[in-house]
């Protein structure tokens, strides 16, 4: 059974259908890309899947359960995590504390446990800190383990956000434009990083404009246009699909 199954998902904003009757499935252990011209509804689709927006209609199954109209914090419990197109890093915290926030659900987060620093909590927290440092090295921001988030450059923050998501040990990770604003070498690094995820048990869905990155790493690609599903298939199928070519390059009239 697929990890995520979306059927007939629709979201209207005052009569405009930003996402219109979109259905697709995502198999565990794959990298799935969502592409489409600007305004095609990619980010809206992300926000619907992750519970940031509620759909106008349509259903969603995630990790074997009905996951309709669930807020992000409930979906997190089911094993979903995401990053954001416009960074959502907590600039009031240290870099490593940001990553440790990702592990929230795996730690005892009671107020009293926290106030009295119970020995079991202290041990778990220390292990969590080591794990977070390890994750920061894994995504390539090991140089910032002792830094404050506000001291880090943009490219590093993008990867810090990925580290925070991974700290939750998610089954499904949605990356909203992980390479946006990065230079070529940074894009290559992110590219390599994403490819390391499915073997580690993390299924990836990404929205991305960088076609080279998408074509290189995706197992399957979903193409949206004007909120509707235009095509879906392997990178090769998508590259040769006449509808996709028309949508991207125009039909030449």
């Amino acid at each position: 059974m697929s990890l995520l199954a979306v059927s007939h998902l629709t979201r209207e904003f005052g009569g405009v259908k930003a996402v219109d009757d979109v259905s697709f499935q995502i198999e565990a252990g794959t990298i799935h890309a969502v592409i489409g011209p600007n305004g095609a509804g990619k980010t809206t689709l992300f926000n619907l899947i992750t519970g940031v927006y509620t759909p106008s209609s349509g259903t969603m199954r995630f990790a074997g359960t009905e996951a309709n109209h669930q807020p992000p914090e409930r979906l997190a419990r089911l094993g979903m995590s995401r990053t954001f197109q416009n960074l959502q890093i907590c600039m009031n915290m240290s870099a490593i504390a940001n990553v440790m926030v990702g592990a929230h659900l795996r730690l005892n987060h009671g107020l009293f446990a926290g106030m009295f620093h119970l020995p079991t909590l202290r041990r778990a927290d220390r292990a969590c800190r080591e794990e977070a440092a390890e994750l920061m090295r894994f995504v390539g921001v090991g140089a910032y383990i002792d830094a404050h988030a506000s001291e880090m450059p943009y490219g590093a923050l993008k990867r810090l956000e990925i580290a925070r998501s991974l700290a939750a040990k998610p089954k499904l990770l949605l990356l909203d434009e992980p390479a946006a604003g990065l230079n070529d070498s940074e894009t290559h690094e992110v590219d390599a990083l994403i490819q390391k995820l499915p073997p580690a048990g993390v299924t990836v869905v990404l929205v991305e404009h960088d076609m080279k990155l998408v074509m290189n790493i995706s197992d399957r690609i979903l193409v949206l246009n004007y909120g509707r599903r235009l095509a879906e298939g392997t990178p090769r199928e998508i590259r040769e699909n006449p509808d996709v070519i028309a949508a991207y390059l125009g039909t030449g009239g």
């Binding site: 959502q88 890093i89 915290m93 926030v101 929230h104 987060h109 107020l111 925070r164 998501s165």
Partner: protein, 314 residues
């Protein structure tokens, strides 16, 4: 970057232990007690405002509930003082819980307005329920007694509030360095990121609001017994503002900043009392100058400068 926890707590312990020996008379001891009481309240308020990013302009209301619960239940109904204090804390916590959900859904100015309204309502009730509270004239409060021991002297009160302050500082430092505390800071930093990480942001905000209300209420009870007299000014709008000012001047999201803010702003009126009316102007000027030159508050701004200096040398 921050001082090790044991060092900070140890320094606080030493200062609190040595202080009564070097203070020349009871007047200074009285000021020290007021500072410590304010510091405990401000630490609780800083957890809410500085760490979680939720403004409350009505916290003096909870101070009033605690103080009057202790005053009324012990003086009029003969309750044991600890039971009255507990009743006040439960009342404050209950009220905070009741209003927290609708209030904490609001953001920024609206949250400030709602908490402001709550504080004003409590204050008005205390002023107008003359039969119960004595109205604007206030009412006297019996000594605090527990297991037959009475806390009456300045010395005794000093040690009580010193222990409360040390304990609160320890608990707060622990909290901010725990998963629950990181969740609060994450809510301040990015609420949507916190939710995606699985943090139930509404529940977390409600909990910290209730916790700070309960802590404030307990210190209200302490204030009532210590002063042996309460008036509604304890709960009024200006006192709420004074508490928030202590948080901001000392430093948002800084426990030691809370201590410093409470100490400075409790001492200032005493120092400026000689100016006969000019003190409000000087008080205001100090606030303005601090905010212009040290906008993050004293402790965080100075910590940043020290860090920058060290980086430059390195």
């Amino acid at each position: 970057m921050a001082l090790p926890r044991s060092f900070g707590l140890g320094a606080l312990l030493v200062v609190l232990a040595v202080l009564p020996a070097i203070l020349p008379n009871d007047f200074y001891l009285d000021v020290a007690i007021r500072m410590a009481i304010n510091a405990v309240v401000v630490i609780g308020l800083n957890l809410l405002i500085g760490y979680t990013g939720q403004i409350s302009l009505g916290h003096a209301g909870f101070l009033g509930i605690g103080a009057y619960a202790s005053a009324i239940l012990t003086a009029n109904y003969g309750w044991p003082s600890a039971a009255a204090m507990l009743a006040g804390a439960i009342g404050s916590g209950g009220l905070a819980l009741l209003v927290a959900r609708p209030i904490l859904r609001l953001k920024g100015h609206y949250l400030a307005m709602a908490t402001l309204g709550l504080g004003i309502i409590i204050s008005i009730v205390l002023v107008n329920e003359v039969a119960l509270t004595g109205g604007p004239d206030g009412m006297s409060v019996p000594n605090f007694s527990l297991f037959g021991f009475e806390i009456a002297s300045e010395q005794a009160w000093y040690w009580v509030v010193a222990v409360l302050l040390l304990g609160t500082t320890w608990l707060a430092l622990n909290l901010i360095d725990s998963p629950a505390g990181r969740a609060l800071q994450a809510i301040h930093g990015s609420e949507i990121a916190a939710r995606v990480a699985g943090i139930d942001t509404t529940a977390a905000k409600v909990r910290i609001f209730v916790l700070s209300a309960v802590l404030t209420s307990i210190m209200g009870s302490v204030t009532a017994h210590y002063l042996a007299f309460v008036t509604p000014t304890l709960s009024d709008f200006f006192h709420s503002i004074a508490l928030v000012t202590m948080v901001v001047i000392g430093g948002m999201a800084s426990i030691y900043g809370s201590l410093l803010g409470a100490v400075l702003l409790t001492a200032l009126p005493q120092v400026l009392a000689g100016l006969e009316g000019g003190e409000t102007v000087v008080f205001g000027l100090i606030l303005i100058v601090t905010m212009i030159f040290l906008p993050r508050g004293l402790v965080p701004s100075l910590a940043l400068r020290r860090l920058a200096l060290r980086r430059r040398r390195a």
